[in-house]
Amino acid sequence: MAEETGLILAAKAGDQEALMQLLDARQEKLYKTAFLCVHDPQDALDIVQDTSLQAFLSIHRLRQPQYFDTWLIRILINVSRHYYRRPLPPLPAPEQMLDAHRQVDLHEDLMQALAKVPAKYRVVLILFYFNELEANEIAAVLRVPTGTVKSRLNRGRKWLREKGGMQHEA
């Protein structure tokens, strides 16, 4: 943690390699979050690239090192909004998947369902379930009141349940 804080402070001071090291350490999270938002590998890579661009341009404005991850995910979410209005590409049908194992089907069911959730609910679902952010942290990322996050979360869950084929969700 101390080493990471040191890297963030170095990045804030203009050390580009320190920031690259921080981004590299999060490349899986960045790519997966982007992919879940847009469901297209190439768009996800473009989003990662734009996120990196914005991070390098604005790292000096990061006020608190401990909020680096929140700050970074906010950039990624803002960047990915460019892509929302594009229709989400259909995922390959299960029989076309390389691995047609039942678990993969389950995974694809959720992916397909998530792709159909309206963007503003989808982002909240991704941040809550996948990035494991609390409602107040999501509120900080999206700059909306916590209550709005909670309501979008509820509506997103409801959407998944009713239109995504989910029968029950804890």
Binding site: E28, L45, L53, A113, A119, G147, T148, E169
Partner: protein, 361 residues
């Protein structure tokens, strides 16, 4: 069936080489953009020496109403940012009190005329409406332009948000909004530089805009709270009809173990509207925790900050914004001052309750 998010995440393949390359490309583009900024400053300086015809523009409500369904569009790819607070503050185009006349408002670039149709100002926030008229305008290219805004008296501005909309054939309108993290001055000059104008290798600088600071009522307070050798307090409010700037500070000794972090940050970013102990909603935050400056007296250091809020609030679970001015006189707003700490949780130094009437002009 319970959605298994972890399983879904685990099963997503990550092309690590490609992701690393994407990160590197982002870094390279950032460096390129910085170089372009330096070149842009030189071009901007040269262009500003060119005399430009100045036409004062008196704004009419219908005159600036942009045909943009939402000023800053959350759903579309029209903007990098979506800022609901800016939309609430500047979204009512019939509210003339936020408009200011503009002088020196147009520039011709090839076959395109750019003109600033209006400036809207609220405490801590500004917005501009810019028209693009002419041939060969490419909406996709317009959206890829890089806009740089500078203001006299402000070292930096925050969160430039923008959106575009088509008004007619060959006529596009741009809405541009940002926060101003510095004390208001009686008058100010806004400079706008547009890089990659209309998809071309051209940088354009609009004529400097001279505008007055927004009308605001300044009120001072002496509210303080102390916790663990740190004192914080709310000092003043610059209250406007659409937004207000809250000024606050923290004081601590240089021997404080968190002095380094305390020198950098403190936040008032949550404000609860309440009446008779019942929560009515949360104030819409524009931007919080902007560090304005610091002073030292002996071993005591005082750091000043400001936050910008709209004079509107939202009930939990409800997207509709309500106006503070419609509340009864005994309604209050509870501000929470938070400090950085060693953990990921922020420390709450204290809360400050102010009557709603003190936050309105």
């Amino acid at each position: 069936m319970k959605p298994d998010w972890q399983k879904m995440s685990d099963q997503l393949d990550v092309p690590t080489n490609l992701v690393h390359q994407a990160l590197r490309r982002g870094q390279a583009r950032a460096n390129l953009r910085r170089r372009h900024r330096h070149i842009g400053v030189l071009i901007a300086t040269a262009l500003m020496l060119v005399a430009v015809v100045i036409n004062p523009l008196t704004l009419q409500a219908g005159g600036v109403a942009p045909a943009i369904r939402q000023l800053l569009d959350q759903e579309g790819k029209k903007t990098h940012h979506f800022d609901p607070t800016m939309n609430q503050v500047f979204g009512d185009m019939a509210d003339l009190s936020v408009y200011q006349p503009v002088q020196g408002n147009h520039v011709v670039v090839g076959a395109v005329t750019l003109s600033v149709r209006g400036v809207m100002a609220a405490p801590g926030m500004r917005a501009l409406v810019i028209d693009y008229q002419g041939g060969h305008l490419d909406p996709t290219a317009l959206r890829k332009q890089t806009i740089t805004v500078t203001m006299t008296g402000h070292d930096r501005i925050l969160d430039v948000s923008q959106n575009y909309g088509q008004i007619a054939l060959g006529h596009y309108r741009q809405f541009l909004a940002f926060y101003t993290p510095a004390p208001e001055t009686p008058s100010e000059t806004i400079s706008i530089r547009i890089d990659r104008f209309n998809g071309q290798a051209k940088n354009v600088t609009l004529p400097a805009l001279h505008i007055a600071a927004p009308t605001a009522t300044h009120r001072t307070f002496a509210l303080t709270a102390t916790k663990a050798d740190v004192t914080g307090g709310v000092d003043a409010v610059d209250a406007g009809a659409q937004a207000f700037v809250l000024h606050y500070h923290t004081s601590f000794t240089s021997t404080n173990s968190h002095a380094k972090a305390l020198r950098q940050a403190a936040w008032i970013s949550e404000a609860t509207v309440q009446r008779h102990g019942k929560t009515l909603g949360q104030l819409l935050l524009g931007t919080g925790g902007m560090r304005i400056g610091d002073t030292s007296r002996g071993a005591t250091r005082t750091v000043n900050f400001q936050s910008v809020f709209a004079t509107q609030y939202q009930k939990d679970g409800n997207d509709k914004a309500l106006a503070l001015r419609d509340l009864p006189a005994d309604a209050t707003v509870l501000f929470r001052l938070e400090l950085p700490s060693g953990s990921t949780q922020r420390d709450i130094l204290g809360t400050f309750e102010l009557p709603v009437s003190t936050l309105l002009p």
